[in-house]
Structure formats: C-alpha cells, structure tokens
C-alpha cells in the first residue's frame, strides 16, 4: 500500500516537474504581462479589444488590488509585469511612491480630467464610480437623506451598513477630512459607530444584506447595484446619489505602466486602448461605470458626471490614507 502510494506520488511529481519545465519556457515576444485588481469578467472583454487591435497577447494575473500593489513593491525592478490595473487610486499611489511606475506621456494623461489621474503623472484613471446610498424596499424615497452625515440621526440606528476596509469608503473619509475638516470627519465617524452602523467585509456583502433585509441603507459604490440590476431587473436594491457633503464623490479605477517593463511602447498602446472611445463605451455599457474620456456617453440611469458636485480636491491628496486609518481606528470605525 505504502509502496503503491509512493509510486503514484513519484509519477505525479515527475509530471509536475515536466509541467514546471513547460511553464518556464513560455516567455514569448509578443506578450504583455498585466497584474489586475479588476475581475476577469469585466476586464477580459476590454483586453480582447486591445489584443485584436494590436496582435499582442496579454497574460493577466488577477488578485486584490492592494495585494498586487504589495507584490509589485516586493518585486521591485525584477517585476515580470508590464501593466498594473487597479480598482482604486490608493493602490496605484502606493506603487507610484516606490518609484516603480513610468511617467505617462502628456497625450495619454490629457485624455482624462485632471482630478482622475495622478498628479505625478504615473497613472491614469480609466473609469469612475460614484459613492451612493443604496437602499432596500422598506425605505421610502422621501425618507432618503441628502447627505451621509445625516446617517448619524437616531432614526437610522442599526439600519445602516458600510465596509470600513474598503478603499472607496476610506477615500470618502479622507475627502471629508480635507474639505469639511478633521473635526467634522471625527464627529461623523463617532456618530456612525454610536448609531450602531453595521460593518461588513466589502461592498458586495453590504448590498446583499440590504437585499435580504438585514439592513436598510448602505454606503457603497454605485456600480455594485448596477451589476446586480443587470442580472435581475427586479433586484430589490436601488441607489440614491446624496447631493450634499461629497455624498456622491467619484473615485477611479486606473492603469499604470511599470518602469521596469521591457516593452513600454506596447504597454502604452494598451493604456491608449483603455482610453479609446471603443473601450470606454464598453465599460459604460457593461459595468455601468462613468467613462472618463470626453465624448463618451455615461450610462443613462446614472446621474450625469457634470451634475455630481465635484469637490475641489485632487485624488493624490486622498493618498493621506494613513491619517484616515488612524482616525478610523481612534473612533472605533475600523
């Protein structure tokens, strides 16, 4: 029995070594390597558009944006990656600060409004997503607050959910600190915690908890609901764009080229494709995000980008995450 097992294990191991050898030799000329924090079902059709246009192949490693940012940091100059596509500005900033990203040419940066790209010029936003208050069937439209700051009101006690580990919520709190001041942000966080806000792991469980009726309101990004509605038109969660106090702040998902890439020209061609009218329209249609390039229509069910009060802050300042995390920990929000 033991012998037989040994033989089986030996055969399996030899097979693995053969597989390993095969994997090592697959490095090939017309291939780009991308690390992506965006998930395959959304990203791969956009990648296909690039592959068709360029004749290049893109090999994509999928993962969580922050984990991939940490990986790029540890890899340093030896990274096999040419491109990094992240869910949030924070992850891109973190890699940019390590000096690992290529400064993008002006024609690429210029396609996107200044507030949706890195101030230092090493990453560019591809799509925008708005913060919203998602609400379930038990809530009447007239009850909906004009501002997230009103959620500290007694009447919402225990009825609201959020995802404190999520980069977009942290981005909102940073913006609140910069625009309304440290005190307002602190009082809001304390008020939310005192009001028994329900903390979830990420945005999707918040949305699902609203659908199940565990909670009634949730502070999330608009497109999570849009995705669910695309699957099921009767999905029992709707979105509300709160007009006050940065309630519908727009965050961005963006892309960068690694400075260590051995094919920067093709990598830049990929970035240009992401900012082309064709791919921008694809994102708007499929994941219901805001296109950031002028001339491409936003999904019509969304509040037009121009009507969302844009706070006059640059996203680079949102990089002051450390201060936000400290405040969130102090107030017990994290």
């Amino acid at each position: 029995m033991l012998l037989r097992r040994r033989r089986v294990a030996l055969v399996a191991f030899t097979g693995l070594l053969a597989g390993l050898a095969a994997c090592g030799s697959s490095e090939d000329e017309n291939t780009l390597t991308m690390y992506s924090g965006r998930i395959a079902p959304i990203l791969s059709p956009a990648v296909k558009q690039y592959e068709t246009a360029s004749g290049f192949d893109v090999k994509t490693r999928y993962g969580d944006s922050p984990a991939l940012a940490a990986t790029l940091t540890e890899e340093g100059k030896n990274s096999p990656a040419d491109l990094f596509f992240a869910q949030d500005a924070g992850s891109l900033d973190a890699v940019e600060k390590q000096g690992l990203l290529l400064k993008l040419p002006a024609d690429v940066l210029g396609r996107v409004p200044a507030r949706f790209r890195s101030k230092a010029g090493a990453w560019v936003g591809v799509t925008g997503r708005s913060r919203v208050i998602a609400y379930g069937e038990d809530v009447k439209r007239s009850e909906l607050p004009d501002s997230p700051l009103e959620l500290t009101d007694e009447k919402w006690k225990g009825r609201v959910g959020w995802a404190p580990r999520n980069a977009s919520l942290q981005g909102y709190i940073t913006a609140l600190r910069l625009v309304e001041g440290e005190d307002v942000a602190k009082r809001w966080l304390e008020g939310m915690v005192a009001n028994d806000v329900q903390a979830f792991d990420s945005n999707i469980p918040v949305r699902d908890a609203i659908a199940k009726g565990e909670i009634e309101l949730g502070l999330i990004n608009h497109y999570y609901v849009a995705e669910a509605q695309a699957e099921d038109p009767d999905y029992p969660v709707k979105v509300h764009f709160p007009p006050k106090d940065l309630g519908s702040l727009v965050n961005t998902a963006g892309v960068a080229v690694l400075a260590s890439s051995d094919d920067k020209e093709q990598a830049l061609a990929f970035v240009r494709q992401m900012l082309s009218a064709q791919t921008q329209r694809y994102f708007a249609d499929s994941s219901k995000e805001y296109p950031l390039v002028a001339g491409v229509q936003a999904p019509k069910e969304l509040t037009p980008l121009a009507d969302i009060p844009a706070p006059d802050i640059d996203l680079a300042k949102l990089g002051d995450l450390q201060g936000t995390l400290r405040l969130m920990r102090e107030t017990g929000a994290l």
């Binding site: 033991l2 097992r5 294990a9 399996a12 191991f13 097979g15 693995l16 070594l17 597989g19 390993l20 994997c23 090592g24 697959s26 390597t33 998930i39 395959a40 090999k59 994509t60 490693r61 999928y62 993962g63 969580d64 922050p66 984990a67 991939l68 940012a69 940490a70 990986t71 940091t73 540890e74 890899e75 340093g76 030896n78 990274s79 096999p80 924070g90 992850s91 900033d93 973190a94 600060k97 580990r165 980069a167 942290q170 903390a199 979830f200 792991d201 999707i204 469980p205 949305r207 699902d208 199940k212 009726g213 565990e214 999570y224 669910a228 995450l321 450390q322 995390l325 920990r329 994290l334």
Partner: protein, 540 residues
C-alpha cells in the same frame, strides 16, 4: 523532552555543549537536511525581519499601542475557545470511530474529516446565508429575524466546525497505534472502563491532542476568511488592513512579528504538555490492534452525536452548496475549465504534501530522537510559516525569489515550495506524535546489528510511523487544496485552481457560481480521506 530533561534522567548535570547539541548526536546527514528544511521554513519569518529593519522606528510605533494588546487578547481568546471546543468534539469522535463497534466507522471517519476542506470564507458565508439574521433558518422558522451571529459567536462556531478535524486526524492515528496491553492490564486489575480511559488512555493521547490543539490555535490566529465575514476584529484582520491601505509594509511586518512571538509563547506552553514521557509500547512484538468496545445501548446516542456533528459541519454547508449548484447547472457549466482547475488543484496539493512530508520526517526525527537546542529551534521555526497569514508567506516568497532565483519566479515549483513550507507543521506534528510511540530500542537494535543510520530510518522508523506520515501528508494536502493568497500571487499566470475559481466568483458576488468548484474540492478530498481512515483501524 529537551536536553536538560534527558540529562536529569541520566542523573547528572550536562556539559554546556551537550545542552546545545544534545546528548545523542544526530547523524550529520540528518542534521544537514534538518538545517536546510529549517532555513526554508524560516523564510517567511526572515522576510518579516528584513521588512521591519527597513523602518524599525515605524515598526515599533505600529506595534506599541494599546490596540495591539486588545487585538492580541481578542485573537487569543478566540483561539483558546475554539481549541477547547475542537478538542471536546474530536476526542469522543476519535474514540468512537477507532475503538468502538459503531456502525459505519470508516464512513463516519471520512465524513467527519471532510469539513476541513471547506475554505473558511466559504464556510462562513454559508453559515451567514443559513443562520444569519435573515437567513434560510429564519425563513424556515417563520420568524422576522434571528439574533445576530456576527462577531465572536459566528467566528467561534465556524472556526470550531471547520478545524476540529485537525485534532481528529492525529488523535485517530494515535488511538490506532496505541498498545492495548496497558488498558487490558488495567481492566484485569479491576479498573472500570471509564477509569481506564481517564487514567490509561487519555495520558497516552495527550501528545496527539496537544499537537492537534496547537494546529487549531495557530489556524485560528492566522485565519482571515472566517473572521472577516463574521465581522470579528482579530489580529490577522489588522495585518490585512495594513496591507490594504497600500503603504503598510512595515506595519504589516511588525504585526506579523508579534504573531510569531505569540506563537513562540504558545509553543513553550505546548512543550510542557509534551514533556518527556515514555509513550511507546512496553512489550516486544508486533503491533496488535485493540478489540473494539461494544457500545450496546450506547450505540444510539453515539450515532446521534456523530450525526449531529456531521449535520452541522458538513450536511448544512454541502446542502447550501448543492442548492446553489443546481441553480448554477441550469445556467450552464464549463466542464473543461472545471476539469483543468481540478487537476491543477490536485497536482499542486499532492506535490506540496509530498514535499512537506519529506521535510517533516527530518524535522520530527531530529526533535524527538535527538532533542537539543539546535533541533528545537529548527522545529519551532518551522511553525512560523503556519502561524502567519497566507499573504505574508506569499510575499516572503515574492521577495526572496525575485532576488535570488528570478528564473524560477512564478513557476509551479515555487508555488509548491511555498505551500510546503506554509503547511510543514501540519505534517511535523502527527509524525512527531507517532514517533513518540515508537520504541527507540528497535532503532538502536538495528544500529547495533550494523545498519547505517539512514538504512535504519528507511527500514525501521519510517514504516513504523507510516500512519503518522500519511496523516500528516493528508493534512497538508487538504490545506493546500484550498489555499488562496499564495496561489494567486505565485502560480504561473493562468494556472487557475478550484480555490482561485471560488475566489474569482465570490469577489464578483457570484456566491452561487462558487458552489460547483467548492463541491469539487470536497470530492477530490474524499477518496484520500477514506483510504486514510481504513489504515490500521480496528480489525473487522
């Protein structure tokens, strides 16, 4: 059983060299191999040292806060509670499935081990769907909402149900190897069966219970999936938050170091439990299985107990998965991708199990047969990889491979290596426990008859600890099957496994779609578990 204790046993004070290098010198080959394995297993901890030294001041600031103390206390509290509950469940299950005439012992043993394969984040999500405030149970009972299971209760429940097999597996092995003559002697001398269990059986099982318990505690300390879905603030969750905030390399590393320190303290406690004891059989001769105990009327409560544990830990989650799977099947399946991912999971996990078992034999042999400060360090360092969250192990391998072995980076070999060092202790601990039950006299006799140390290892020791090796290998296999962070970061691009498939689906919110790969994981795990449960069980 350390050098000092061995010295006391010899009735004299040891010279310093013997205290460090041991009373019995290990063969050089074995020591060399041990150092190689130890170094490999130390890589995650070494990486933390590098990362902390980058910014020692910041690291200290990150760690020296009241928050750290609070989180460690919470995590330890959860770990202790889960470990106690896991032992309380595993001891009766092990005894019933090895020593009694319970009907269908092998099937029970297999079923009751399977919950280990359910990834904890999936398990937690399933429990929230079933038992959450507005879950399926609330619907069945017709009530508006159930009391919340989030927080400690939920984390405790899920982690206990998915980790008790970590105690059950080594415990079953130990029971199978136990010399029945001691119990028989006690019975002949008029002790009641209950008395015999308490005074004769339990003390012999202590190493296996201790070994399994340590694994459960470390699993709980390093788990991220269950605590995050159950919304329990734990120490590991803080490490992830540090990574997620994008700048937290130093902070995360500093917190990881604290986790390693906590592990070392835990170990010092465990070492006392495992203190030197002669646990091997006292009579010469071949291993002889015990006569099964007739349960008689107790058969029904026993069956009810096994059934209840299986119902909550296996049938409930699998039921929800099957329900989701039927919904999914109606909307189409990609069989080809499933088969490929299944094969990838199987191959990577099997290779990792083989590599970890080989390494673990070396480590266990050194620490049990040649105890000394050196061998103890090798053993304990090996546990660091298991106490640390998967993301730390993965990043450690990224760090070292891109610096010293770039051509190997993101090949299957590095992934298998990472999985093997991550789960090494899972194999070390059952092998160590089984080795404690093998009389060293046998090995000495073979040496006396002129066999070389390696020949003794191959022909005498290894066959005698085979059940420990298989048990340990199986534990590594089961864990490697569901491993996620290292697989995501280290596998060759496009090398999807069932676990990464589950992750892709759940990160999109498609929990239903994750049901089929999750069920396939269980299917792959079942045959080896069944074979394992057959080995050495009571003669039928």
């Amino acid at each position: 059983m350390d050098a000092a204790a061995a010295g006391r046993a010899l009735g004299r004070r040891l010279p310093p060299a013997a205290r460090v290098f041991g009373v019995r010198r290990p063969p050089l080959v074995l020591l060399g191999l041990g150092l190689v394995v130890g170094l490999a297993a130390a890589l995650p901890a070494l990486y933390l040292v590098f990362a902390v030294l980058d910014d020692a001041r910041g690291a200290l600031d990150a760690v020296l806060t009241g928050r750290t103390v609070g989180l460690i206390t919470r995590s330890l509290g959860l770990a202790v509670a889960v470990t106690a509950a896991a032992i309380a469940i595993a001891v009766p299950l092990a005894w019933l499935t090895v020593r009694s005439d319970l009907p269908g012992r092998r099937v029970w043993a297999t079923l009751l081990t399977l919950p280990l394969v359910i990834p904890s984040y999936i398990g937690a999500y399933l429990f929230v769907s079933a038992l959450g405030p507005r879950g399926a149970l609330a619907g069945l009972l017709g009530v508006e909402r159930l009391p919340s299971i989030y927080g400690f209760t939920g984390a405790f429940l899920v982690l206990t149900l998915f980790t008790y097999p970590l105690v059950l597996i080594p415990l079953r092995g130990a029971l199978q190897r136990m010399d029945p003559s001691l119990e028989e002697a006690a019975r002949v001398m008029g002790r009641s069966p209950r008395d015999v269990f308490r005074s004769v059986v339990l003390p012999q099982l202590a190493p296996a219970i201790g070994a399994g318990g340590v694994l459960v505690a470390l699993y709980v300390l390093s788990d991220f999936g269950a605590v995050s879905i159950m919304r329990f603030n734990s120490f590991t969750r803080d490490i992830y938050i540090a990574y997620e905030s994008g700048f937290g390399r130093t902070e995360a590393a500093a917190l990881g170091m604290v986790l390693v320190l906590v592990m070392l303290v835990l170990f010092a406690v465990y070492a006392r439990v495992r203190a030197a004891r002669a646990l091997h059989r006292v009579t010469p001769g071949a291993q002889r299985p015990a006569q099964p105990v007739r349960l008689g009327g107790w058969r029904w409560p026993a069956l009810a107990f096994c059934g209840a544990v299986a119902a909550i830990a296996l049938v409930l989650p699998v039921g929800v998965l099957l329900y989701w799977a039927t919904k999914q099947i109606s909307s189409g399946l990609e069989l080809g991708a499933l088969a490929t991912n299944g094969w990838h999971s199987l191959a990577a996990a099997a290779a990792a199990a083989l590599a970890a078992s080989l390494g673990a034999i070396v480590v266990a042999l050194l620490s049990v047969r040649y105890p000394s400060v050196v061998t103890r360090i090798v053993e304990r360092v090996g546990y660091a990889g298991y106490a640390l969250p998967g993301i730390v192990v993965a990043l450690a391998l990224v760090f070292f491979t891109t610096r010293v072995a770039l051509p190997l980076y993101q090949t299957l070999g590095v992934l298998v290596f990472a999985l093997a060092i991550h789960y090494l202790p899972l194999a070390v601990s059952p092998i160590g426990a089984s080795l404690l039950q093998v009389p060293p006299r046998l090995e000495e006799a073979a040496r006396g008859l002129g066999r070389s140390p390696l020949a003794v290892l191959r022909t005498i020791t290894t066959p005698l600890v085979a059940s420990g090796v298989l048990g340990g290998g199986a534990l590594v296999f089961l864990h490697a099957l569901k491993e996620l962070p290292a697989t995501l970061l280290l596998a060759p691009i496009g090398f999807d496994t069932l676990a990464t498939d589950v992750w892709h689906q759940t990160s999109f919110g498609f929990y239903e779609a994750s049901a089929i790969p999750a069920l396939l994981l269980l299917l792959i795990a079942a045959p080896p578990l069944y074979l394992l449960s057959a080995r050495g069980s009571v003669a039928s």
